[in-house]
């Protein structure tokens, strides 16, 4: 560590910024959809509980959007500050979606501003309409940015000759082979994660026996139903991603699965540790599963790391990122299904067991952990490349002498922002009691609270 290495520090700074930003970016993409779902349910069922749900979520959402905006600005600029040579090359071929992303975000920002300040100025249906451009804008942002990341994995739409880029086709660059699976996986997992985070909040207030029980139970049912649907979609798309990797980035799949020898009927290894001679110990082997994941049939031949030159092999610890991500996905599916089964209408009178509520609370942060693991897998699994087949990470970084100091400053910034956000958000909800708001809202006019 005594030797100053701008490449290493640039990588760490980018990782830290992305890890912090992705929390707020994920919330920014998924929560508008959840708010829309709640407000729409409120209108459809003519149930003010759901309207209040939408209002309270929106109130907290705006704080996270602020941090999402500023950290998004940071990563946008850091791409040029830390990876100038990459941006010079990439700018020639993939600038189009980057440019369009700003438009998408522009629309989102404008309509979010209008939405927040017009709850009582417009009729409910018209107010809900304002959320449509917000949700489309945020999902379109995610779409455009993810195409850029997809391009880094499977670059196409240009020719590189003697360091010069020619024959650029911006559309082909944007719709590269990685785009469909990557974009849909990012969107579905963002929706899923937000559903589980909001479910965690509802479960938490049920556990504390404060606030209004009916309100929290309605919130829990809505969020977990949405969470289950999105989690199943995420898993299905994840399966397609496996087939994409086998076809276009076999080294990434092989590294994640510790798949050393090219073979058919390949088993899938879950967990375990790797010995010095690359033998897998204590792992759970599922026969044929890797061949099925990669090609759909047990007879599919999966390319192993034996066909990849050593210097182009991704780090093997991505295995744990991959397994962690899959575990989180499966676990949340089981928990959401279990809760919905237990609370089905036949036994609606019985309250959900407290241990289950506790597990649901844990599912919120767990889903976010899943997002992190997924991104770490996607990014570390691309190593040593920044632009697969064209440019390595080490060639792309800045040569500036002060990346270490900047790293320190940004870490401090994120620490301060994160802590203040937690403080402000918890204060916001403590100061606005659900029961009081329901009364102010006219839900309890004559009778007392329902439960």
């Amino acid at each position: 560590m005594f030797h100053y290495d701008p490449v290493l520090y640039s990588r760490i700074l980018t990782e830290v910024t992305l890890a912090f930003h992705i929390i707020f970016a994920t919330i920014g993409v998924g929560v508008p959809v959840m708010i829309a779902l709640a407000e729409w349910t409120g209108i459809r069922k003519n149930d003010r509980y759901y309207t209040l749900l939408a209002r309270r979520w929106a109130r907290g959402f705006v704080i996270t959007v602020a941090i999402g905006v500023v950290t998004g600005t940071a990563i946008g600029l850091q791409l040029s500050l830390l990876w100038p040579s990459f941006m010079e090359i990439a700018g020639q071929a993939i600038a189009l979606p980057l440019f369009m992303e700003t438009f998408a975000f522009f629309v989102e920002a404008i309509f979010l501003g209008i939405y927040l300040y017009t709850w009582d100025r417009f009729k409910p249906k018209r107010h809900l309409m304002l959320l449509i451009p917000v949700a489309i804008g945020s999902s379109a942002s995610a779409f455009f940015i993810t195409t850029v990341n997809a391009f880094m994995n499977t670059p196409q739409g240009f020719t590189l000759e003697n360091g010069k880029i020619t024959n650029v086709d911006p559309i082909a660059a944007m719709f590269n082979p990685a785009t469909p699976t990557k974009v849909s996986h990012v969107l579905a997992s963002a929706y899923m994660t937000c559903a589980f985070i909001l479910a965690a909040i509802a479960a938490f207030s049920l556990l504390r026996r404060k606030g209004d029980r009916l309100y929290a139970k309605k919130a829990l049912k809505l969020t977990l139903t949405a969470g289950l649907v999105f989690a199943l979609a995420t898993a299905a798309i994840g399966d397609l991603s496996g087939k994409f990797l086998a076809a276009y980035q076999p080294e990434k799949l092989a590294a994640a699965e510790w798949h050393f020898e090219t073979q058919t009927k390949a088993p899938l290894v879950f967990g375990g540790i790797l010995t010095e001679d690359k033998e897998i110990k204590y792992g759970l082997k599922i026969p044929y599963a890797l061949s099925i994941l990669a090609g759909g049939t047990p007879g599919f031949e999966v390319k192993g790391l034996d066909q990849i030159p050593d210097e182009l092999e991704p780090p093997l610890y991505v295995h744990y990122f991959f397994d962690g991500m899959v575990t989180v996905g499966m676990f949340t599916i089981v928990i959401a299904a279990l809760y919905l089964w237990l609370s089905r209408s036949k036994r609606a009178s019985k309250p959900a067991p407290r241990w289950l509520l506790r597990v649901i609370v844990a599912c919120g942060p767990l889903s976010m952990l899943g997002i992190w693991l997924g991104w770490f897998y996607a990014e570390v699994g691309r190593q040593p490349w920044i632009l697969r087949g064209y440019m390595k990470v080490a060639e792309a970084a800045t040569t500036s002498a002060h990346v270490d100091t900047m790293l320190l400053l940004f870490c401090l910034l994120y620490l301060v922002l994160g802590l203040t956000a937690i403080k402000v958000l918890s204060k916001l909800f403590k100061n606005n009691d659900v029961a009081d708001e329901l009364i102010a809202f006219g839900v309890f006019e004559k009778r007392g609270p329902l439960e």
Partner: protein, 341 residues
């Protein structure tokens, strides 16, 4: 008009948009904090908050749009500016991040937290100072390329009269533009007490704005004579800018036609900003990057222009809606509408 000129014009228009919207925002933040410290909070703070709350997210996007567009249209700017600006760029980013977040914290979360207000107010002056140094750097002589290694010459940057004159102009203009806008907004809101205060700010900061501009002219004639000569060729633009300034200040002085007055503030800065920009061409960075030699490939250039036009078709109606709801809606401006839910 060829593609590269169209590209740089689009970017310059967006930078101008940022200059105006951000100046209003930065200056308002400073005045807002100032009003808390001096105890006139109740008078001016309401006006400032009512305008800023719904539009703050939009401000940052103008800036992001500018630099993403710059790298898109002129990819080599990434390597030169990116390498040289790591430190000033990171500092500006940190300030912007603090500002955006703490605005949200103080507006939507903990009201009346003095620390949040201080961060918000102070960054309002520090950010324009930090960002304006990029304009100084673009004049050349401060970024040096030796044997393929690009570095920023810090002592030249900090020792340059031109740098400091640009920083001064940026700070003073922020306060001037913001006060002129708030005077118009307060007048529209029929808030007499607030109007009197911000009108005072507007008049106080008008003369320093002109003095700082003159200083910049003087400094650039020393720093980059080639650019200064080209500015003289476009002298009429700067003269028109000055006339617009006189009309705008006269309107505020007489307390009449304030909407028109603010329009002349916009024109004043538009003429000066585009005069400066046009005379800066063809260079984006003296002497390394020009719009002709460093333009992206034609395919990407065309795609970006098409995307831009399509984007504008969505963006302009949205912006009009935003302005009609919060800027030109008399009921909202006067505070007769419901607040955030």
């Amino acid at each position: 008009m060829n593609l590269e000129l169209l590209g740089i014009t689009v970017l310059w228009v967006f930078l101008f948009g940022y200059l105006i919207v951000a100046s209003i925002d930065f200056g308002a933040g400073f005045f807002s904090y100032y009003s808390v410290v001096t105890g006139s909070k109740n008078i001016t703070h309401r006006i400032i908050e009512r305008y800023l709350s719904p539009v703050w997210e939009v401000t940052n996007v103008f800036l992001v749009f500018f630099y993403i567009g710059l790298v898109g249209f002129f990819p080599e700017t990434a390597r030169y500016y990116g390498t040289a600006l790591l430190v000033p760029g990171s500092l500006a980013l940190i300030l912007l991040a603090l500002r955006g977040s703490y605005y949200a914290f103080s507006t939507y979360g903990s009201k009346d937290n003095q620390w949040y207000m201080l961060i918000y107010g102070a960054t309002g002056l520090l950010i324009p100072a930090a960002l304006s140094t990029v304009l100084a750097i673009s004049e050349g002589g401060l970024i040096v390329e030796t044997a393929g290694q690009i570095t920023l010459d810090w002592s030249a940057l900090l020792g340059s009269v031109y740098t400091w004159s640009v920083v001064l102009l940026a700070i003073v203009s922020v306060l001037y533009i913001s006060a002129m806008f708030l005077a118009y907004y307060a007048h529209k809101a029929k808030d007499e007490a607030a109007f009197e205060i911000v009108r005072g700010y507007a008049l106080v900061w008008s003369v320093p704005t002109i003095l700082a501009s003159v200083l910049v002219f003087f400094a650039i004639s020393r720093h980059n004579p080639e650019h200064f000569t080209k500015m003289l060729d476009l002298a009429w633009m700067f003269v028109v800018s000055f006339l617009c300034f006189l009309i705008a200040v006269y309107a505020v002085w007489k307390k009449r036609h304030l909407g028109l007055g603010f329009t002349f503030v916009l024109l004043q800065f538009a003429f000066a900003f585009f005069g400066y920009g046009a005379s800066h061409l063809p260079y984006i960075l003296y002497p390394y990057i020009t719009i002709h030699e460093n333009f992206t490939n034609p395919a990407m250039g065309t795609a970006l222009i098409i995307a831009f036009i399509a984007g504008l078709l969505i963006l302009i109606p949205s912006l009009v809606l935003l302005m009609r709801l919060f800027l030109f809606d008399a009921g909202y401006v006067q505070g007769n509408r419901d607040k955030k839910g």
